[in-house]
């Protein structure tokens, strides 16, 4: 528990023409915790993270970083604050190798403006080792040849390499097998233990109840409520997602199947 969250959104709204993708959404992410963000398709999860990432700057409301209001107008602004997003299918470039992907868009250069491949490769090895990612044999293999779990590991490692404070993971376990899902969930937990604020978007409540500390439910672009995993049930979350029933409406603890 920390006094003020690293990242907080207050009354955030975002429209695309006539479509109100987000209206008056509150959200926060704390250091050392995994905050799950759930909601049905079209609930505004993607828009919310893209707003935080600077891809869709917000129309209304405010974003606070460590208690200070900040304006995020583009991906670079988010990156400067230490906010990193791992997108579902858009995190890695297939025709580049692991090192090239880890540094894509932020390549290290030497005095002559040449790419500093040696240092980038070295730091990639260190980062992967620091996160106990052992499944990647050489950081010089092409990403196209990696398994789904390995790809996610690289994408996550890439996000945390920049002294990031907040890491947002969009469906990191979608389309992964059991063992690979295990790998990625372990990695998510490890990130929180290292003191990062982790935001996890997932459709899989089982995964969420396994790694998350809190859950924020979005429905039709509004926030339904926030739940502590230790004090809620999957049933309650499903009701919040589908019917928008907030936590206060809970009748008793015995949830039917």
């Amino acid at each position: 528990m920390t006094d003020s969250p690293i990242l907080a959104l207050r009354g955030v709204s975002k429209s695309f023409g006539q479509v109100h993708a987000l209206s008056q959404v509150d959200f926060h992410a704390d250091a050392g915790e995994v905050m799950a963000l759930v909601g049905d398709n079209g609930a505004g999860k993607s828009t919310l993270i893209k707003s935080i990432a600077g891809i869709h700057p917000i129309d209304e409301g405010e974003i606070l970083f460590e208690g200070r209001p900040v304006s995020i107008g583009g991906p670079k602004d988010a990156g400067r604050l230490g906010i990193e997003v791992v997108y579902q299918d858009l995190a890695l470039c297939d025709n580049l190798d692991v090192v090239q992907n880890m540094y894509l868009g932020r390549e290290l250069r030497d005095r002559l403006w040449r790419l500093d491949e040696a240092t980038m490769e070295q730091r990639t090895r260190e980062t992967l080792r620091g996160l106990s990612v052992t499944t990647i044999r050489t950081p010089r293999q092409l990403v196209a040849g990696l398994s789904g779990g390995q790809r996610q590991s690289v994408a996550v490692a890439r996000a945390v390499m920049w002294n990031s404070r907040v890491v947002i993971l969009d469906e990191p376990t979608a389309a992964l097998g059991v063992a690979q899902t295990r790998q990625v969930l372990d990695l998510v937990r490890r990130l929180a233990e290292q003191g990062l604020a982790v935001v996890l978007i997932s459709h899989n409540l089982h995964d969420i109840f396994e790694v998350a500390d809190r859950i924020t439910v979005l429905r039709l672009g509004r926030s339904v409520g926030e739940y502590a995993v230790a004090e809620t049930t999957q049933q309650e979350i499903v009701q919040a997602i589908t019917a928008g029933i907030p936590a206060a409406a809970r009748s008793n603890g015995e949830a039917p199947v």
Partner: protein, 320 residues
């Protein structure tokens, strides 16, 4: 670590294949025609190849980034005609004429790039439209009959030599080295490969996608304009339509050189091999006693076949 990048280039099979093909084609042709492998004729082949290769330099950057530049023929042609008009056979004006025309080529590329990125026009439509506008504009401007000859200095640049090596080849070598350095060792080059593979990933990675795209078209406009100047020196004059063969040739050189026509893979070193293959091929067909008409047919078929073969691994990888 420069050795890493070189090692990876050395393992690039399509590029090695293209050089192998160029050498094989050269050997076969030389066997049929004794004079083909003489130093003099090799010099001529290198000079002829340089024009395709220069236009294809810019085209390589554009295609790597996932675009295509169909405006190169009349960018080249416009630069050639304006050069003869502005210089009027004199060497002295070239001091400002050459930089001006290369800059003008860059400006054409800038308009192409902005139309594609800011207005969202598809690269094919944008650059095709530009090509038509340029050809029409030049016809109006010249009344259809440009007459001035190439200044002597440009002729020297295109055909003269220092020791055994043509100036032309030295210029090509310098620009090829520059392109190789940019593609292999700079962040811009890295971003270009990312862009050509997956625009969204590149954008989400914080790459200035639009800026990189625009720069590729600017480079293409500049190399086409510069090739037009050198080609005028080689031919001795500028004429309407002189750029037309360079549209298909430049794209074919890139594709034969092992690049994916869809972007994201390839290298200018491969394009060089592609330009050499096209040039040797053009020299081989007359030796086989084929008249101009059948020559064109065979030329077209061979280009299409090579492009199809060269892009086959890419298509297989996509459908996988």
């Amino acid at each position: 670590m420069t050795t890493f990048a070189l090692r990876r280039l050395g393992q690039n099979r399509p590029i090695l294949l293209a050089y192998g093909g160029a050498l094989a084609l050269f050997a076969v042709t030389s066997a049929f025609s004794p004079g083909f492998a003489s130093a003099n004729h090799i010099r001529i082949l290198l000079i002829q190849a340089s024009f395709v290769a220069l236009v294809a330099l810019g085209q390589s950057f554009v295609i790597l980034g996932g675009g295509i530049d169909l405006s190169v023929p009349w960018t080249l042609n416009g630069s050639a005609i304006l050069m003869t008009l502005f210089a009027d056979g004199q060497n002295r004006p070239l001091v400002w004429v050459i930089p001006l025309l290369v800059a003008l080529g860059g400006l054409i590329g800038l308009v192409n790039g902005l139309g594609i990125t800011a207005l969202g026009v598809s690269p094919i439509i944008m650059t095709l439209g530009m090509n038509v506008i340029l050809s029409g504009g030049l016809l109006v401007y010249t009344n259809g009959s440009p007459t001035a000859a190439a200044p002597a200095f440009v002729e020297t640049l295109a055909t003269g030599r220092v020791g055994p090596v043509p100036y032309n080849t030295l210029i090509w070598l310098a620009l090829a080295s520059l392109a190789t350095v940019v593609l292999t060792w700079t962040a811009f080059g890295r971003h270009l490969y990312a862009l050509g593979t997956n625009r969204m990933v590149a954008q989400f990675s914080g790459i200035a996608v639009s800026r990189v795209t625009v720069v590729t078209y600017v480079i293409s406009g500049m190399t086409a304009a510069f090739a037009g100047i050198l080609l005028t020196g080689y031919v001795g004059q500028a004429y309407l339509g002189m750029g037309d063969p360079y549209l298909f040739a430049s794209v074919a050189a890139v594709a034969i050189g092992g690049a994916s026509i869809l972007g994201g893979s390839g290298h200018y070193l491969g394009t060089i091999a592609g330009a050499l293959i096209l040039t040797v091929l053009a020299g081989l067909l007359p030796i086989l006693n084929l008249n101009t008409a059948s020559l064109q047919v065979i030329y077209g078929v061979v280009i299409l076949a090579t492009v199809a073969l060269a892009t086959l691994p890419g298509r297989l990888a996509v459908t996988r």
